[in-house]
């Protein structure tokens, strides 16, 4: 009995140690959390409270959506160890904030990451080049910037996560839907007539399946660009509308959505575009070579058997007549 309990306690201790060590790896040292708290105590909540010197009363106000920062998302995002004042002016430290501060210049991706060798592999310059040639270019939409799609307070490097592709696709498409599915957001950038997505994509069979299984940029992004993820968004008339571009053995999805997947192996179970199969089934692209050959061979053999039967029957009939 004593032996057993020792055994158990050892197992318990070991598993605790494993848990503890793996938890250790994930621990982040939030060096700026204390300082950021000054901002997030208001901006991290949907309501904020302050003391009004004039009325000598505590006042409670709603935090406008555009000034709200989700604290949990912020501290798990790519810029998790940033100080608020790394990007925003230190003048924000006084409250009430000076109205003029809203005119502050805000850096975009290339302002910090451009020309930096450490970030070279993300090809920020190529992204900028793509963006400038896109329908979203500052020339066309002066109010449009990196932050129109990627919220710097929550942006995570999971746009290339291939483990849970469906969730990656959903996050990607959310960036587009923010404006293209909400007229109020669209109006921040343009006065052009708002197009209903369901109507403009009427030609797509199973619209829902397409929205869930592929990113908007598969058809609307220029895949010839150098950026890892297409940032040159094409005008509607230049976007992919031909089903065959994806639904074929040479599916364009292999050059876009599945670009970051492990090396495709056509021989894996005899499937063409095998990596697509992990998450999706694309009619026309997901063909099985072995099954195709098998069915053709069986069909040919069946025809041969029928022909043989017919020939023997004919010969035997002649023979029987002769008797």
């Amino acid at each position: 009995m004593i032996k057993l309990s020792h055994k158990y306690s050892l197992v318990f201790l070991l598993s605790f140690a494993v848990l503890f060590s793996s938890a250790q790896e994930e621990v982040r040292e939030y060096t700026n959390a204390g300082e950021n708290h000054h901002c997030l105590k208001c901006h991290g909540q949907s309501f904020y409270t302050f003391y009004n010197d004039w009325t000598e009363l505590d006042v409670r106000k709603i935090m406008p959506q555009e000034y709200y920062v989700d604290t949990v998302m912020f501290y798990s995002a790519s810029h998790w160890d940033f100080k608020c004042t790394d990007c925003h002016t230190e003048d924000y430290q006084t409250f009430p904030h000076d109205g003029e501060l809203r005119m502050e210049f805000l850096n975009t991706c290339v302002d910090c990451h451009g020309g930096d060798e450490d970030w070279e592999h993300f090809k920020f310059e190529d992204i900028e080049e793509d963006f400038n040639a896109s329908v979203h270019s500052p020339e066309t939409l002066p109010n449009f910037s990196c932050w129109s799609c990627h919220d710097p307070h929550s942006y995570k490097l999971d746009y290339r996560n291939t483990e849970d592709l469906i969730s990656t696709i959903s996050k990607n498409n959310d960036a587009c839907m923010k404006c293209h599915n909400q007229e109020s957001h669209m109006r921040l950038h343009t006065d052009e007539p708002f197009k209903d997505l369901a109507t403009s994509h009427e030609f797509l069979p199973n619209q829902r399946a397409h929205y869930n299984k592929v990113r908007c940029i598969e058809c609307h992004g220029d895949l010839d660009g150098e950026a890892l993820v297409a940032h040159k968004i094409l005008p509607a008339e230049e976007s992919v509308k031909n089903c065959k571009e994806c639904h074929s053995k040479n599916s364009l999805l292999m050059a876009s959505l599945y670009k970051f997947q492990s090396q495709e192996n056509r021989k894996k179970f005899g499937f063409y575009n095998a990596s697509i199969l992990n998450e999706s089934y694309v009619i026309g692209a997901s063909k099985n070579y072995i099954l195709n050959v098998f069915t053709i061979v069986v069909f040919a053999l069946s025809i041969l058997a029928i022909l043989t039967h017919a020939i023997i029957l004919r010969i035997s009939k002649k023979k029987n007549h002769g008797k």
Partner: protein, 204 residues
């Protein structure tokens, strides 16, 4: 007149004809999507999909009408399989096809008003109507509404499995059609079986 039997009522003939035409459309469009190269398809991809979807829905409707009419008429009796002596009957019929008919023997199970199918024929029809066709139709419908398909089945992509099953059932039924047509041609009088599916009368 004694040599004639009215075995195929008008509703059955109409269903059979519609079923045949729709099935041919489904085979041709299905083959085009599965085998022909996209760059140079047998039928344009979008056209093939549209025709395949419409024909698929129509063939399901025709199947439901057939089932309802079949079960509410005496025709259902032809699809009842008796277990007792089944193996012997199947062997007897197989022997006839593989040997007896070459010797000029007469068929071991002649067509009567109570039994219009021989044992092998009945087995294949029961298999096709009650097993293969329903699987083909259910998987086809599922592919038409893929949002209802289970995403992963034992770690494998549900839609892929559905599509593979659909394709394989389509293949088996195409094989059935080929064999069906060949055996239909084996009548004493030329095209007699094809004629009876138009007139309704079976001639001995």
């Amino acid at each position: 007149m004694a040599n004639r039997l009215y075995l195929y009522p008008i509703w059955l003939r109409i269903w059979h004809m519609i079923n045949a035409l729709l099935f041919l459309a489904l085979i041709v469009t299905g083959l085009s999507m599965q085998y022909s190269p996209v760059e140079n398809p047998l039928i344009e991809f979008q056209t093939a999909i549209a025709v395949h979807n419409i024909a698929g829905i129509l063939i399901i409707a025709a199947y439901i009408i057939f089932m309802v009419t079949n079960f509410s008429s005496s025709n259902k009796k032809y699809y009842v399989m008796k277990k007792k002596g089944l193996m012997d009957r199947l062997m007897k019929q197989s022997r006839y096809y593989a040997y007896g008919m070459f010797k000029g023997e007469s068929t071991p199970f002649p067509v009567t008003e109570d039994e219009k199918f021989n044992p092998l024929q009945k087995l294949s029809y029961v298999g096709v109507i009650y097993i293969l066709l329903p699987i083909l139709m259910i998987t086809g419908l599922a592919l038409l509404y893929p949002e209802f398909i289970v995403h992963k089945v034992f770690g494998l992509n549900g839609t892929m499995l559905t599509a593979l099953l659909h394709m394989f059932m389509g293949f088996l039924l195409t094989l059935f059609l080929l064999i069906h047509l060949y055996f239909a041609s084996l009548s004493k009088k030329k095209f007699a079986n094809f004629k009876s599916m138009i007139t309704g009368w079976h001639e001995h």
